[in-house]
Every structure is written in C-alpha cells, then in structure tokens.
Subunit: 213 residues, 2 copies
C-alpha cells in the first residue's frame, strides 16, 4: 500500500519539547502525522535499535509507517517499513538491493539531476530540500521553488519537501503536486506537538484551520 506522505515527521532529539522521543512521536501521531522517520546520528547501534523498537510500537499502534534514516541494518532489525538515505549514505541502488522490493526506499535529493538518479536507483519517494533555513540543519543547501517545480515535472514518485517548513509556507506545496511536508522542529520543538501536527496537516491540504491558528 502506498503511504500517505501528507505529514512526515523526522525526529530530532536535540530539538524536542518533550522529555522522551516516544512522547513526541505519540503526540505527533495523535495530531495526524502520517509517517515517522527516525533519524539518529552518533549513538551506539544498540541505543538506536532500542529506540527504534520503542518507536515502532507507537507507529504500529497508530498504523503509520516507520522509516529509519541511514542505518538499513536497524530498519531490518526492527522490521521498519523502510529506510531513508541521503547523498552521503549507502548508494540508493545498493540500498535497494539490500532491502529488497518490499521495503520503502526514500532518498534525499537537492536537484532535478539527483531526483532522476534516485528514481533510476529504485527510490519509492523523494525528500527534497532544504527548502528554507532551519535550526535543525543550518548548513543544508537550499532548493529553489523553481527547482522543486522542475523535479516535480521530471519524476512521478511521491515527493515530500523538507527544511524550514512551517505554518507560513505549509500551504504552498500541495498546489504544486507535492505529496507531503517533512517536518522536524515545526512539530517536535513546539510546546503543543499534537496541535502543531494537526495545524500543519490541515494547512498542507488546504482545509480550514484558521480557527485553531
């Protein structure tokens, strides 16, 4: 089944408003987040595995897919729905061979050329960004709205945009044919994670959310 990518939460323990990652994911899922990507750098694999196992229980309860960033082995170990890789991870075509055809493969791209390559390599969806400046990845390069439009024209797999997505720009993307918003701090760093997730999802899909804003 093709996932609903509308509100794609990427975790970041550095910027959480809650005490635990499990709480943050739980609240985001309750607020309508449709996919969770667990992203952890520089922690021992055992800790990552334990964390992924814990988060998987929550995403299973909400019936939403869990995606693991970079570490395909952790994804296989916990039975995650898929993996998400960047341009500095294992090459996408090799990742596809390792996970087989039944797991989701997401690839981060920053240009139309990278997008076309990722599709050829077997990506199921693309993460395009960074769109705007963001506290969680201050050194990321930016993708212009023009380049995003070009990518959308050139590939026909789902696209989520990432990097600086917030309430001011959340409504810009669905009219362009983008499938979802990937958010980190705009959900996870907010004092009310559930409400923030709910508002962003409404804004993305063009539903009335003014009353809540």
């Amino acid at each position: 089944m093709k996932p609903d990518y509308s509100l794609y939460l990427v975790t970041d323990r550095m910027h959480m408003s809650t005490r635990t990652l499990g709480e943050a994911v739980e609240q985001a899922a309750a607020g309508g987040c449709t996919v969770v990507q667990l992203r952890e750098k520089e922690i021992p694999a055992l800790d990552f595995y334990m964390l992924a196992s814990e988060v998987k229980k929550i995403t299973d309860r909400y019936g939403i897919p869990l995606i693991i960033n970079d570490r395909i082995d952790i994804a296989l170990a916990v039975g995650a729905a898929g993996v998400h890789i960047g341009q500095k991870d294992i090459p996408a075509d090799i990742a596809r061979k390792v996970i087989g055809q039944d797991m989701l493969l997401g690839v981060s791209v920053g240009s139309a050329a990278e997008a076309v390559n990722a599709v050829e390599d077997g990506a199921d969806y693309l993460g395009v960004g960074a769109m705007f400046p963001t506290v969680t990845k201050p050194d990321a390069g930016y993708v212009s709205m023009e380049e995003l439009g070009k990518i959308r024209q050139m590939v026909d797999i789902p696209i989520v945009v990432i990097g600086g997505i917030n309430r001011e720009n959340a409504m810009l993307f669905q009219p362009m044919g983008i499938d979802g918003l990937a958010v980190v701090s705009a959900v996870i760093a907010e004092s009310d994670i559930k409400k923030s997730a709910s508002i962003l999802r409404s804004l993305f899909s063009g539903k009335e959310a003014i009353g809540e804003l």
Copy 2:
C-alpha cells in the same frame, strides 16, 4: 568453510603506518593475515561503503574473509563474509536474524557470561578482550588469563584474543586452545606491516621465527 582465525587483522585508520588502508590490508594479507575486520566509526555510510568495497577486492584476491564491524548494512551491501558486533551494537540474536545463517557472526565479549550468551545468540566466533593495555582502545576493560581460560572451557566455537597482543605475548594463546590473535596496532602501526604480520603468525603457531626477530 570454517575460516582460519590465526591472524585476524582489525583495521584502524588512526594508527596506520601506510598512507592508505588498502595498502595496509594488502601488506598484512601478503604477510599472512587470515581474516580482515574493517572497523570504522563516525564516517558517513557512503565513505564506509566505498572503503569496504575497496578492501573487499583485496581480501578476495588473497582469498581471506572480510568482516565488517557493527554496520550489518555495509556488510550486506558489499557482500562481506560476515559482521562483528560488540556489546553496544545491535543485539547478537537480532544480528543473526538480519544476516541469516550463511554469513559469519562474531561477537566481542569480556566475560564467560557474555561468551555463553553470545553462543546462544548464534555467534560463529568470539573476540575476547581487551587482554592487555593498548593505544587503540585505551578505555577497554581487561580480561584476565583466568577468565579467558574459563571462557575457553565453556564455549566450543573459535576464539580470537584482542587488545595489546604483540610479539611478547603472541605465543601464550595457542597452548590454551585459542584460535587466533586479533591485532590492530601490532601490525597496522608497524613500519613493516608484512613482516610484522608474518612474525606474529609464526609466534602464535609456535613456529620458529627467531631468525626474523
């Protein structure tokens, strides 16, 4: 086929005497090293993958197994012979499920209790240590010769010893029923890697090596 564990090289780019890791592995293999474990922490997965692909060409040429430390996904991606995991990596029983029965699973242990658990979890061989102080892992705990003897009595899979193995102690282990020496700096940091590997292998197996010393 059961590997020959006599001289098990663990790589460490921080302590190499050669310019490239490929050169170091090549020279160690030429000197008689029988297994290569690639250990890399804190480098992007793409770099690890590229490095593992390069080293695999060398180990294939010498007909010796390549083992990947920690990152099972890199091992799967390059078609390595196996993986080696520590107590802070993905749990051994889960690692076994991920790699299946055809790949080697090595587990680092520091006590008889950990050794027995590792065997139950599906380990093919054990790395026991650290035996002695070492520059490459200064914070490792030590395993006494008594504990090593106890481990040898309690498990029947191959055991390699690691941590501070050098020409002074290389001859102590085969009489105890240990299957090989795992070495890092005693080979890789030496000015003549090939000769150092050859001498250690001879010393381990009790063959005459005095002429070369």
